[in-house]
Assembly symmetry: C5
Homo-oligomer: 354 residues x 5
């Protein structure tokens, strides 16, 4: 649950703009890599020092500085200062519990996204904050750990596939957002299959353990919704604000990724509806089974209790009980019992209980 209540701000009492890392303690080194490209050329290198990053600002090419790991506060800060980032931006990059948001700071645009991937081991959604800063000809991206969904973009940059090398830094930012959003579909597909499978299982044989599965799916969908819902506002915001940083050629692409986000939200809501439906299915099947149990009890009891009474009657030890001495008394009583039992059964059948 800690995923839900993660605090996205400095510790109480700290000076605002103080950069503290609030995620899990991490050992791995911070890795800073840089792409520089224009239509003709592309170069890729790993920077040994964060200070080298800011040289990107002056080349005529587009630069993409990617930072894996935000737990080394000093490095983040020195990258940030190289690009004149506002202290609050640096703070938000390090405090990795932010909601998706977009903020304009003078000549740069700061965007926070949640990168979601399905974690098979933990059987839950893995969540990582991706912070993007878009400048006139450079893009900074910060991730919590190595491994991301940006490999295809790197491939396109190196092989010059598509429009990516022709269009500027804004198109690169769009591509990064698009890669993150596209991966939501992959997560949704896994959740969708889960919902479908559970639905089929439960139609055949609903059991108590299904409740846990339902709750699990509900939680993951809630988590997903929480990460994606604000993104819609972010993307609408980019289009509305008409920043100079986003060119006209990139604009339809942003509208496109906005559409995808709407579609994902739609699907998440549909899946949530379906999971609620499964809950109802479970409850109604439990109550249905309960009803059957009760019916069997009632039928058995209502048939045999009166019969037992009759048997008890003739088990009494009174001296003078004339029926006991009739020759066919026993068989007469058996007959009466049979008639009573059959009568009961017919009564039940008439009431459609059988």
């Amino acid at each position: 649950m800690a995923r839900f209540t993660r605090r996205g701000s400095q510790k109480a009492g700290e000076t605002p703009g103080t950069v503290t890392y609030v995620g899990e303690a991490r050992e791995a080194d911070v890795v800073i890599s840089r792409f520089e490209y224009d239509e003709e050329d592309v170069s890729r290198d790993i920077l040994s020092s964060p200070d080298a990053a800011s040289s990107a600002r002056t080349t005529g090419k587009v630069s993409w500085i990617n930072v894996d790991g935000v737990h080394d506060i000093e490095k983040i800060q020195s990258v940030g200062e190289g690009f004149d980032l506002h202290p609050l931006v640096i703070e938000d990059i390090a405090h990795t519990g932010q909601r998706p948001k977009i903020e304009e700071y003078g000549s740069s645009l700061f965007i926070v996204l949640r990168m979601l991937r399905w974690n098979d081991e933990a059987d839950e959604i893995d969540d990582e904050q991706v912070s993007l800063v878009l400048g006139p000809s450079w893009v900074l991206s910060f991730q919590e750990r190595e491994g991301d969904v940006f490999e295809p973009i790197r491939g396109r940059l190196l092989s010059n596939r598509g429009r990516i090398r022709r269009l500027g830094a804004d198109y690169l930012v769009y591509s990064l957002i698009d890669a993150v959003v596209d991966h939501y579909f992959a997560v949704l597909e896994i959740l969708g299959e889960r919902v479908e499978d559970l639905g089929e299982d439960m139609t055949e044989n609903p059991k108590h353990a299904d409740l846990d599965a339902i709750r699990h799916l509900k939680r993951e969908l809630l988590f997903m919704r929480k990460s994606i819902w604000p993104l819609r506002e972010v993307l609408a915001g980019i289009q509305r604000e008409e920043s100079d940083l986003v060119g006209e050629a990139t604009s339809p692409y942003l509208r496109d990724v906005y559409d995808h986000t709407i579609q994902i939200i739609d699907t998440v809501e549909t899946l949530r509806d379906m999971v609620s439906g499964l809950m109802d299915l479970y409850l109604s099947s439990v109550s249905n089974r309960m009803n059957e149990v009760m019916k069997v009890l009632t039928i058995i009891a209502t048939i045999f209790i009166p019969l037992s009474f009759i048997a008890g009657l003739y088990g009494m030890n009174f001296d003078f009980m004339p029926e006991l001495h009739w020759k066919y008394g026993y068989f007469a009583v058996l007959g009466v019992m049979l008639a009573a039992g059959v009568g009961m059964l017919l009564f039940f059948r008439r009431r459609r209980w059988l």
Copy 2:
């Protein structure tokens, strides 16, 4: 359920604007047909090559190019390029899981609709994406497979009935949207009858299988709602944006189809309310029946359990039990039992349990 989670975008990692078909694999050929008409003349032909389509742009007449089948990516692309469509438009045409939407691209208007028809065999709503592109004097329409709801429009074009040949490409686009929306009424009528029939059945004899029917109706209505709800925004959008492509004469017709959409949404919501009502009806009748079962059990048990106890009492084998030797002991006991039973019945009647 795949209907609900269909992905409406490129596979993760693909270059945006990459055109991939994501629907079921299809064998049928792509068929491209063309209408060219003005007030005097109309011609209809099947185009052998997609390249021929773009010649439509230069005639003085109105052209309607209809493409059946979007699984042959190359053909779609060559039609699209003939009309200078934006790569994202072509991508959206091929990825047939789009929500209804409207987008303006410079001199053309791109509209996505969901064409719904009732599939009797599968006993569910059949859903197909219809993509329309409106240019100054031409309309492109793309469908997933042959067979559509546009036959009456073709008839009107050929026989010059109504205003269709007098008004321009915008009126043709309106007619296509109107045909799709009108067919929603047909689907709604089928669903409405289902709901009504089920309601009548259940009033007489609610049974467990009705739950499945309710769930089925709920799902279809949810599906329908998902397809129609965004359409409202689309149609409001056309009216609001006041594109040059839509003339004043067509404007009241668009308002009219907007009204129909509102009415359909209204009816879908009403039907959803009714289906919820059926669910309540089912639950209350189940609990009512359960109550009756329990009452019978209680009445039988509470009458006979005490009587059985009395019988058991006099079945005890104590040496000294004076009642056993009374002459009319047996009959006295029978009398007591009768009195107890009748007393119980009167008690139940007073409490209105009988």
Copy 3:
């Protein structure tokens, strides 16, 4: 239920603007009546031919043409054409399943209302479409059948009571809307009484048949809501659009009828809340009664089952059972039984089950 899913548009595939009547088949003749009035004079006549109606456009007086019956398509059409109505307006007049709406067509204003009256025989709300067209000095009104809520207006016109003859066609339209809205109060009063009566009945003795009454009231309120809700938008629309057709003197009256509509919607929502409350009342009283039944069963069973066991114990036929031969064994057992029974009762009382 057909009341809920009535289609308000042409049959699928028809040319838009085709005028087809979609209501029940009707035999009665279409009756066209006309009022012509100014402050000095008033005349009232029945028109023999629909063509005569349009002469109204040129007199200096205010004319009100009322058409009872819209099933004779030709007559409707010839009236409509006499006043230059847009084909879609004529279509909407004949398709009597429209939602309340307002539309401006050049020099005239088209308003659709639902006239509701309580039908005692069918025990439900009777619903009829009233279409109004307001021109510079004339008003057309179309109703589905004879009989309406406009008699008091006719009386005021003839007797020159109030302002109606002094003010123009816009005030007449207001008066017609006001008459329709005022009648909603009458219907609401009937429904309100029903809800109140049912509530009182159920407090005393809730029974299964009440469920049907609740459902019935719910349906009627839903139906009413569906008819009235859009009216609010219509009336807000008239005020907002500030059409030249509506003079300043009439404006406060429209605000007044808007207030009434808000009040009706408020009351409908309150009644819906109350009906939900009745449902809860029913359910809680059913479950309460069920609890009582169960308690009685439990008390009887838990007292007598152990006693019966004791009786059974001493009904066993073992050769060697010393208690059986004790002189006061029988009475001792009776004493034990009495003590056990009383103990049970005290236990129940302590737990507040009695």
Copy 4:
């Protein structure tokens, strides 16, 4: 319930603007009182005739005409005409079922409020319509009956406490609204205590009668909400419209009373939440008690039913039943029974049913 469906308009068919009184028949005389004041002077008198009221319009002082009783239509009308009120205003004053609203009529502002007081006898909220009309230097107030929440204002006027004599008619109107709103807090406090007390009672011993209390509180809160909710709009409206009648000095006070209204709405919603919580508490405690009852039944029955069976077994009268003749057969059986009973108890304890 009549409180909820009171009709706030003329009877169906009446000329709009017809003034009819729709409340309960009242005997008391209409009392018209007048305050005239400026910073130096204040006078208070009872007017014998309604015509005298309008002389107030011409003095240089601020006049407050208060009318107790709106059932004498003629008097209301003659007051109204003296101040040139619109016929619809006079109608709304007499039809005392209006929602709170604000309307601007040329040079005057018409405000409707609901004055709520707790009626101890009827144990419900007492509701009265207060209609205010604000002119340039005069205020009219109409109430349904004598007795109101305005005494403190009269006191301040007479003793010249606070700013009331210094500021104009707009401040007087503010003071009247503020007095009404302030009294809502008193009503809320009573309801709040009720909710609190009921909650404490129910935690100790929930009983069926609590359901009625819950429903009662629910209804009163619903009633209160219905009266207060529109007031918020009214007060926002005064601030937004920036009528010339409301001076700058009074403006912060109106914002203040608006804040109070928001706070009251907030508290009403919170109380409604709490009452819903009480309902849940009741239901869960009922089902909890039911569960306990069922558990006792189950434990008793499952222990003794098998034991009774064993006893029955050895009560059979077969000639050849070897166990019956064993010397310690009886004690062996008793032992078996004891073991079975203890086993059952242990089983229950292991399952945490005891």
Copy 5:
């Protein structure tokens, strides 16, 4: 519950602007402390008289006057008058039940916040009103009692850490708001842990006492929500109104604290969802346990009731019952009983009840 219905206005009938303290009676003295600082200097002192406070208005430095305790009406009033506060501002400061709000009064900005802290003893959220007034170069802050969340700010002022001494009064107000909001995270963390712990407890062994815990958490979350929700509007208001009092340098910081508020609201909603989930978990586990109880009862009863009947049958005392005299009659009956019991068990197993 008094926390929920606290009245935030003068007593009914009081002159508006009358300053009355409405909180609990307090003994402690009112303490007024003052900070004066600019980039070079800082001084801190305790003011002996409230009149001294207003001298702050004329120094060139930034002054922060903090008042602990608002129960001494006269002192509050004399501070307020020293800074020309509007009477309604002073009233709101003393009536400590205000919702968070922002109001502009000419040259000063009045802000009300709720300061929340977790009270371990009472095991609930402690709530205190903080009223801030921002002038051109001074800030007033009023608290209900000593002890607050501002210590770190005092520390930063004294030690000149961060930007606080460089930026003006607006940054100080931001810092105070930020400190309050930051403390919400601390409270949320406690509540989050509670929810988590309760969830774990209940998965293992849900018990009736958990209901109280759920209700407790629900109430605290509701309380928190009520305090924080309006804050969002307040912070959006500061940014929107673009008062001259808030400089451009402080603006991004206010956006940042707005973001935190959104995040807190988000988390509160998530926790509320989770608590609802716990309620469902409780209910489903109770009904599940109930089902198990009922099943055991049914199985025991349905197996033994028929067997007991058979035993009773052969306990009858008829003279002529041939089976009784068969040599292996007893064993045959035992066999029949065994077969019936096993048959029942198999039947239950087939129906998956075991």
